[in-house]
């Protein structure tokens, strides 16, 4: 099953390498990983998407906890949460027909066209990973030139927090 794990990490040199190394070393999957400092610059917030059976996920959270620099962590998938991913996608759009089609598609997915040339559109889409997948699928007809995705960021709904 897919899990989204949020981690508060001491923002120290090498701490990210430790997290990534753990996954490589123990053969866990990383589907996506985002990391950046929080409002408190001494801490980073990391969102990690992984998949595995319950036993594997349990080991992942336990092993992450063991890392000295991991302050706290939460398996977001265990309760209500919001997840978002940002995608920038560059597509070929030369004929009028093609350009209209891409624009229509972008509208449907609430994407924004953020760069235009005579031959290309660059569109920004934000949403769940599924939504971004669906957008790529929808554009399969047009020529996709380049896709860049941020990886998932997530946060628990309501009162639940992951903070010091």
């Amino acid at each position: 099953m897919r899990h989204i794990i949020s981690v508060l990490l001491e923002n120290e040199p090498g701490s990210l390498a430790r997290v990534v190394g753990l996954f490589a070393q123990r053969g866990y999957n990383i589907d996506s990983l985002t990391v950046a400092p929080t409002e408190d610059a001494t801490m980073s917030r990391l969102t990690l998407v992984t998949h595995g059976n319950d036993q594997v996920i349990e080991q992942i959270t336990k092993q992450l906890h063991k890392l000295i620099e991991v302050v706290k962590l939460q398996d977001l998938s265990e309760s209500a949460h919001v997840e978002r991913e940002l995608m920038l996608i560059k597509v070929k759009a030369t004929s009028n027909e093609q350009r209209d089609e891409v624009k229509r598609c972008a509208d449907i997915f609430r994407g924004q066209i953020i760069d235009v040339t005579a031959k290309t559109f660059t569109i920004q889409v934000v949403g769940t990973s599924d939504k971004l997948d669906a957008f790529i699928e929808a554009l399969k007809g047009s020529a996709i030139i380049e896709v860049v995705r941020s990886g998932v960021s997530g946060i628990a709904r309501g009162e639940k927090t992951l903070a010091l």
Binding site: G14, R18, Q25, H65, K66, V71, L164
Partner: protein, 579 residues
Amino acid sequence: MTSQNTKTEMLSGAAMVIRALADEGVEYLYGYPGGAVLHIYDALFQQSKVKHVLVRHEQAATHMADAYARASGKAGVVLVTSGPGATNAVTGIATAYMDSIPMVVLTGQVMSHLIGEDAFQETDMLGISRPIVKHNMSVRRPEDIPYLIKKAFYIAQSGRPGPVVLDIPKDMTMPNERYPYQYPETIKLRSYNPTAAGHPGQIKKAVTALLKAKRPVIYAGGGVIMGQAAEELTELARKLNYPVTNTLMGLGAFPAADRQFVGMLGMHGSYEANMTMHHADVILAVGARFDDRVTNNTKKFCPDATIIHIDIDPASISKTINAHIPIVGLVKPVLSAMLAQLEQKKAQPDTQALATWWQQIDGWRTVHGGRYDSDTPVLKPQAVIEAVSRITKGEAYVTSDVGQHQMFAAQYYQFNKPNRWINSGGLGTMGFGLPAAMGVKLNYPDADVVCVTGEGSIQMNIQELSTCKQYGLGVKIINLNNGYLGMVKQWQDMNYESRYASSYMDSLPDFVKLAEAYGHVGIRVTKPEELEPALEKAFAHKDQLVFLDIHVDPKEHVYPMQVPGGAINEMFLSKTKRT
């Protein structure tokens, strides 16, 4: 801050390293010098509190420190230079990591401004050691050194112990740059705060389950040894009259001479230990990690058992075998809490069920019982260990290398006290035995320290015979010389129709002459009747290293041995017999 303490000392980074070690109470530092750590060595030279032991290869320094930790419970400390010095220490760090041994390793590093430039003797030691340490850090400002050293000891020794590497760039130790020195008394980290006491509710549940058991067993591991809880474990076991089995790492946690002890369990465990485990209805696992050398096929593992698991590391719990009653905590306080509850409850174990259970266990004891073919003209390795055990009254520190000899030592030496059996279980590092014996002997000069080894393993760190001479380390080396990489040969006998691919060593040195060349005593034993007198003679040489080159049966196998892929109770009992 009001007034600065006028006596605040100003020290160089190099001097701080050594002072911090002294303030931590470190007596010995094991290491080898080189360019990146010369400032530190100079600081070492200018004081006398911390003594340095110069090994002949950095790997030996790590094993010495590691063995000191296994014997004393306190972290051993290593100092090596950058590059090759640091990489030579890697095997020793991994050895300590796999067995959860506290150790602090100080590695030199090139000047900060050269890092990343493929400078002379630069290796990314943080990167290399990351997967085999509990934690690693590097010094970025000289004034942080006291804090970082305190932190290294704190992390290494608390919770589930393990090695910590501190990488020190040379420019952090400049002799002419001085900084205020103060050694922190305690450390508090917001991100690391291991629990000690177990959850009271879980402990209660565990005690209830234990008292209800009809076929109980206590399975104790290295956590009891390193957690200094052998006394509590023994008290609990005796109070309940339950059988006890120890892992390879747990030998000595419960006295081997006790009737309740059924022997080691696992791949080369005793028949009765493995049978007791398999048929148990409640297993109390204490500081043991259900290693694959213990469980054999996890799918067939102890089908009827309710498993209570006490471990400080949540990741050890339900990793390979699901625990029904997990207790996260240090073994010592958890066992004490269990004892207190037993006291309160006044409830008794089911004595009738227990009597039947013991009857069954005693029956199993008669099946194999550690017997080996003893009336042969060739000397049997098992007989050698039994003799050593007898002569040292089961009280020596016994270190070991890796192979058949290790298993014979584990099976036939009677370990009645904790912290006396010192071997590499998790990594299985050949070359561990001699340096380990040295580390123990240096710190316990009055104790008998025996290194059980094989002609293969001993050659992996034989150069340390020189270090032994320099520091007068009178360890007794029991070289069970079978002329083969015996453990490999055994597998080849059993699985490869005796095709001995590279398991025979030709051109072995004359170990007696070799020992003499290093300035020690060498004795060769080739016949059974020579054994006892040779051992008596060896142990009479109190302060001298004696190398006993004992020629044993090259054909001997270690039994019992679990059948691959089978349950824990499926074993080969001899070359011709299996369960």
